[in-house]
Amino acid sequence: MRNSFNNNDIKVEEFEALIKLTAEMAKFLYPYIRQILQSRDDFIRIPKAWSEFKNRYIELISERFNTNSMRVKRLLDPRSNDEAFIKILLTLAFCISDDGFQKLKATLLSY
């Protein structure tokens, strides 16, 4: 899916380090993640956070991902990407506990 010609396999240690980093960042960013989720829950009243997040995320995907791939096209489709983005945010929101790293790892491995 990435817009890159390098096809290096990631090592187990690197994979775990990335997950730890993501879990720690999710802990730090939880108030923002929650605010975005809440904005989607009550989109009519507070649409700002969700719209800004979605626009920026789509911008990043089209910048760094291979937009010819069908998966990426599906992510960029505004009619169906809400569900995928909510799932990504929920995955991060559920892993902010002390053993959040293990939870995130289990979720990613069973995906």
């Binding site: 929650r34 829950d41 053993d99």
Partner: protein
């Protein structure tokens, strides 16, 4: 005897645990091993409370439901105390059934943000050193309910149709090839055989 009380907060949700330490195990006075009362308070929603068995069922319900939400399974949890089902992809409905016969089930609608807060409150409770004996073995081996997706008729069709269509198409194509190539192959084989026999004859004569 004074009871201990702990609060686990996460944004819009507070989980209150009241109970006593287990003095027979020489535990600290500050700990809780015997939970006598608990209350889950969500802002703008009625509080949910009950005994230790109810708490275990509710924790299990939320963990099962959140797992199935993330794993692309049918997000649904049903038990005799609590049902959780999605209304759409950003709101969920909790149906709390009372054990008392006269009391009607209570329906509470929550969003994804509140669901995340509730899960984080339960995570805090699980990792707390002060409250013990909540997480038994049952939470460590949550069943993988991947078979649930077969309950939906659409999914059964989606699951069975592709292999059936592929088997039928392979069968059809192979029968067509049998009719087209069978004779030609036989002819060429018999020709080759005849040639070989004639070469053998010539060799013998020579």
């Amino acid at each position: 005897m004074l009871q201990n009380k702990f609060l686990f907060n996460q944004s819009s949700v507070t989980l209150e645990i009241v109970g006593l330490p287990d003095y027979s195990n020489n535990e600290d006075e500050d700990n809780i091993s015997i939970i006598s009362q608990w209350k889950l308070m969500i802002i703008d929603k009625p509080p949910i409370e009950g005994n230790i068995d109810h708490l275990k069922t509710i924790i299990r319900a939320f963990y099962c439901y959140s797992n199935s939400l993330l794993n692309n399974e049918i997000a649904l949890f049903e038990s005799n105390l609590i049902d959780i089902k999605p209304e759409n992809y950003y709101s969920h409905i909790l149906l709390l059934k009372s054990t008392k016969p006269e009391v009607k089930p209570l329906s509470i609608k929550i969003g994804n943000s509140v669901l995340a807060d509730i899960i984080n409150c339960f995570d805090q409770l699980g990792s707390s050193n002060k409250v013990k004996n909540i997480y038994s073995k049952e939470f460590k081996s949550l069943n993988n309910k991947k078979f649930l997706f077969l309950l939906d008729k659409k999914n059964i069709l989606n699951f069975l149709l592709p292999p059936l269509v592929s088997i039928c198409s392979i069968f059809l194509i192979s029968t067509v090839f049998i009719y087209v190539y069978d004779n030609n192959d036989n002819r060429s084989l018999s020709n080759n055989k005849n040639k070989l026999i004639s070469i053998n004859h010539i060799n013998k004569i020579l």
